[in-house]
């Protein structure tokens, strides 16, 4: 249970970090909070020969208002800081609601917002939340930078579009539209455990109260965040009545997800949870969009 040897760099600027990544390519790993990387190194599942530690890159630690009314989060911002930030609470309530579900306080004190997203664990909360919110991710390399939308960022099991010479530097959370609401729900055996299933819902209504936008994204049921596109299509343009929500939840469970079985839960049980959490999260999100409830 000890990591294999590696060469350690602690750059103080993103530019310097990118130079190390450009030089070492696939041999290097980025060390953010280390709350997922270090366990895999302790198990020697990961044996990077170079670690580029971002903990001294102060330019990556921030939460600030976006010009569009949203929020910009620096990739190295600690999860515990996001969890308690008033701007996040006001402008990104889905993120605010999801934060306490992420592991334990000791982990959130070290774990970073960008690290959680870049790690792309299919059981993690923030990848699903970022897809539900249509977050945009700023990725830098020495050659320049590019923006990627969250739904294009995750490409598979622990895999994203980030190239070895690139760095996720910022997450842009869009503003909440008028008449919009969101909800995060998950079922875990104990608080802080990996969720058996989790659901992030983000919805908006038009002037008549019909669904204008529905994003329902699950975690722990696939190789990454899984969007329930068919369920969303059913609701689009409809009044979100209890019957419509129930039908969408059933579609989500039967047609949108294909969960696996493991020691913690069978596929059938996960499918059942998808249905329940879809209904609960959509109901709460629509209620909030209508201004009902907290």
């Amino acid at each position: 249970m000890k990591p294999a040897p590696f060469k350690y760099y602690a750059p103080t600027t993103a530019e310097e970090a990118l130079a190390h990544l450009a030089e070492h390519g696939y041999d290097a790993k980025v060390l953010a909070g280390g709350q997922s990387l270090i366990p895999t190194m302790n198990f020697r599942l990961a044996q990077p020969s170079v670690l580029v530690d971002l903990n001294h890159v102060s330019e990556l630690f921030y939460i600030k208002p976006g010009g569009d009314g949203g929020v910009l989060v620096g990739a190295m911002t600690r999860e515990s800081q996001v969890e308690h930030d008033p701007l996040i609470a006001e402008r990104a309530p889905l993120v605010f609601e999801a934060m306490p579900h992420i592991a334990h306080p000791q982990i959130r004190n070290r774990g970073t917002f960008g690290g959680c997203i870049a790690h792309a664990d299919p059981a993690a909360e923030l990848p699903a939340v970022s897809v539900a919110l249509d977050a945009r991710l700023r990725i830098r390399s020495q050659a320049g930078e590019r923006w990627v939308s969250a739904d294009e960022f995750f490409v598979g099991f622990f895999t994203t579009v980030i190239e070895p010479d690139e760095l996720l530097v910022e997450i842009a959370l869009p503003p909440m539209a008028p008449r919009s609401g969101c909800s995060f729900q998950e079922v875990a055996r104990r608080h802080g455990d990996y969720a058996l299933v989790g659901a992030a819902a983000s919805v908006a209504l038009d002037h008549q109260g019909r669904c204008q936008r529905v994003r329902l994204v699950f975690l722990s049921v696939g190789e990454g965040p899984v969007e329930a596109g068919r369920a969303a299509d059913l609701l689009q343009g409809q009044f979100p009545t209890p019957e419509a929500i129930r039908a969408a939840a059933e579609t989500a469970a039967s047609a949108d997800v294909d969960p696996g079985s493991d020691i913690h839960a069978s596929a059938d049980y996960r499918r059942h949870l998808v249905k329940i959490l879809a209904r609960q999260s959509l109901t709460q999100a629509f209620d909030r969009a209508k201004g009902i409830g907290g």
Binding site: P5, F6, Q106, R110
Partner: protein
Amino acid sequence: MDNLMNVTVTVNGTPYERAVEPRLLLSDFLRHELGLTGTHVGCEHGVCGTCTILFDGQAVRSCLMFAIQADGHEVLTVEGLGSVDKLHPLQQAFRDAHALQCAFCTPGFLMTLVPFLEEKPNPTEEEIREAIAGNLCRCTGYQNIVEAVKLAAERMGA
């Protein structure tokens, strides 16, 4: 043992300087380099919580950090919490409420709960249980640990 790097870290108020391999975990640094064996090592992958320490005042898993990352920072371990003659109120409450049996997990619980009680001096039972969710105890069934936290909160608030 080439590739050594210098680390200067203040632990329980005392500055230490050592040359270590970058791969040395902070938990092992505390135990093997400094001889502070109060910080226990259980799972070494961030699940059991027994290696919890305060890093610049915040509870973290010392098995999920490298010692070199503590360079220039402040660490508090259970040795810095109280002494045999003068226990920290939380330690005294653990003793009085029988919140430990084998005690392997106790340092981790204490270091988790010290900042928790500073943040929430009057916690509810639900908040206490949530706070200790990242610390495993195989002896007590947690009941008396929760009781001890309530007792400590009561005494510390008094």
